[in-house]
């Protein structure tokens, strides 16, 4: 009886661990050896119980419970395959308004255009369009597609605007990025500063021969800043300005949405997030559905047997007592 409960509990926990790949896809746990080992141990426990049942240890109830354990085994196998053998989670970082082909999925990702307000809200969408024309809106919660799970990963972003001293709007370019003509910085690189890994990006205002480096600080980072900052509840950037020969021209702190003037350029950086499309290996849906269905059905079937058997067992117990 105890071994039956233990096997069921281990099966349920293992199923929960595998389903977590779909419901909490951001956890890096699934590609670790510890995760694979936990599933392998669970599988071994189920096998040990099944072996005991084969020898007649748990009677009819145990035999019927093998159906449930087979279901758990299917789910564990699928989880191991996706977690251990599947590719690591990949992120597709797309410039707002562009299309990124994803050959592995036979699809293209449409990254929605984003203005300053959309970056501040962080609610831009990504739509996946497959070769057959079907469109799939991807959200923060995981969305299975074949043996992959798609979800949006918010990344720091800045929508930039710049003006010269006369107030004329200036072109923003990103000379070191493929998104040359985009005023949206996606902070694809990181710089270690003290205890922080700070995302940074660069942009230029070629009309005035200025090049800027922007370091992105979250409110949490700002809270740890020693200097007095009026507003630590919103993200901010530190801007370093240089001319196009590399001579340093200044440094300034730029809160989100506030105009600052540096090296003769008035800059407004509206900060927030813009999503990247994350593609994670996931157990195939059919395996999860079939495995969980078998698990539930097996428990139900064995419970029915248990109910049928219990009065006879009670009578037998009375006979033995006599």
């Amino acid at each position: 009886m105890n071994s039956r409960i233990a096997a069921l509990a281990v099966g349920a926990i293992a199923i929960g661990l595998v389903l977590a790949q779909d419901f909490a896809p951001r956890t890096p746990l699934y590609h670790t050896w510890q995760y694979a080992l936990a599933l392998a141990i669970a599988f071994a426990v189920l096998l040990a119980y099944a072996n005991g049942v084969r020898r007649g240890d748990d009677g009819v109830v145990g035999k019927r419970l093998l159906v449930a354990l087979a279901g758990a085994g299917v789910v564990i196998g699928a989880g191991l395959a996706a977690g251990l053998l599947g590719p690591d989670t990949a992120s597709v970082v797309g410039t707002p308004g562009t299309v990124a082909p994803i050959p592995a999925l036979g699809a293209a990702a449409f990254f929605a255009p984003a203005d300053a307000a959309a970056v501040a809200r962080g609610d831009a969408a990504v739509t996946l369009r497959r070769r057959d024309g079907a469109a799939l809106e991807v959200g923060a919660r995981g969305r299975p597609l074949g043996e992959s799970l798609l979800y949006l990963e918010p990344r720091p972003a800045a929508y930039l605007e710049a003006w010269d001293e006369r107030g004329a709007h200036l072109t923003i370019t990103q000379p070191t990025s493929a998104s040359f003509l985009s005023p949206v910085l996606l902070f694809r690189q990181q710089q270690r500063i003290g205890e922080f890994d700070v995302p940074y990006d660069t942009f230029a205002t070629p009309a005035l021969h200025r090049v800027f480096r922007a370091l992105y600080f979250t409110p949490r980072d700002l809270a740890a800043f020693p200097r007095a900052i009026d507003d630590k509840t919103h993200p901010a950037v530190i801007l370093y300005a240089a001319d196009d020969r590399g001579a340093q021209l200044g440094i300034t702190f730029a809160p989100s949405g506030k105009d600052v003037t540096i090296a003769g350029v008035r800059v407004r950086a509206t900060l927030g997030t813009y999503p990247a499309l994350a593609i994670a290996a996931a157990p195939p849906a059919w395996a999860l559905v079939a495995g969980v269905a078998l698990f539930v059905a097996g428990i139900g079937w064995s419970a029915a047997a248990s109910r049928r058997l219990s009065p006879r067992n009670r009578r037998r117990a009375v006979v033995h007592a006599d």
């Binding site: 410039t95 707002p96 990124a100 255009p113 040359f180 009309a207």
Partner: protein, 168 residues
């Protein structure tokens, strides 16, 4: 040095995005923006016509060099090809002053938020996009063009549609 201001990473076509040439055959995205004359214009407003859209900026030396050829092309192909200059990120007054000084007569759209530049994956300036009558991108070209190159670029879009087999 001059080109450094007008172009992105050393090998932009190898990076994600792929540059404007990869957009051939895709539906042409359109955004409403103001022209230097104050009217609102867009690519979509010219659906059914062949459009040569040129993304440029006044600070970009190759764009300035290309402008006379673009003006000559606009004149030569008036009535057959709509030429739209789309200034990237600058103030309307700046673009208008430049156009007036250079005798540009085709419409200049002022795309302050650089929506066209982003969407057409401009890896540098100037970028030219030819859009067919069906609203799809025929070609995306990175870099300055000569008048002759412009003629060659629009030729496939101007070619008459293949005649349908006559029914008896």
């Amino acid at each position: 040095m001059l080109l450094a201001g007008c172009y992105s990473a050393p090998d932009p076509k190898s990076a994600a995005g792929g540059g404007p040439s990869t957009l051939a055959g895709a539906p042409a995205q359109s955004f409403d923006v103001r022209r230097t004359d104050g009217r609102v214009d867009s690519l979509a407003a010219h659906r059914g016509e062949v459009v040569l859209m040129n993304l440029w900026a006044t600070w970009c030396p190759p764009c300035r060099e290309e402008m006379p050829a673009l003006q000559a092309f606009a004149r030569a192909y008036a009535g057959r090809v709509v030429v739209l200059g789309v200034d990237q990120g600058e103030a309307s007054s700046v673009a208008a002053a430049f156009a007036s000084e250079r005798g540009v007569t085709f419409p200049i759209l002022v795309d302050e938020s650089q929506q066209y530049g982003r969407t057409y994956q401009g890896v540098g300036l100037p970028t030219t996009v030819i859009v067919g009558r069906d609203g799809r991108v025929v070609r995306g070209i990175d870099g300055a063009m000569t008048l002759e190159q412009m003629r060659v670029a629009v030729a496939p879009a101007l070619a008459p549609l293949a005649p349908r087999r006559a029914s008896r």
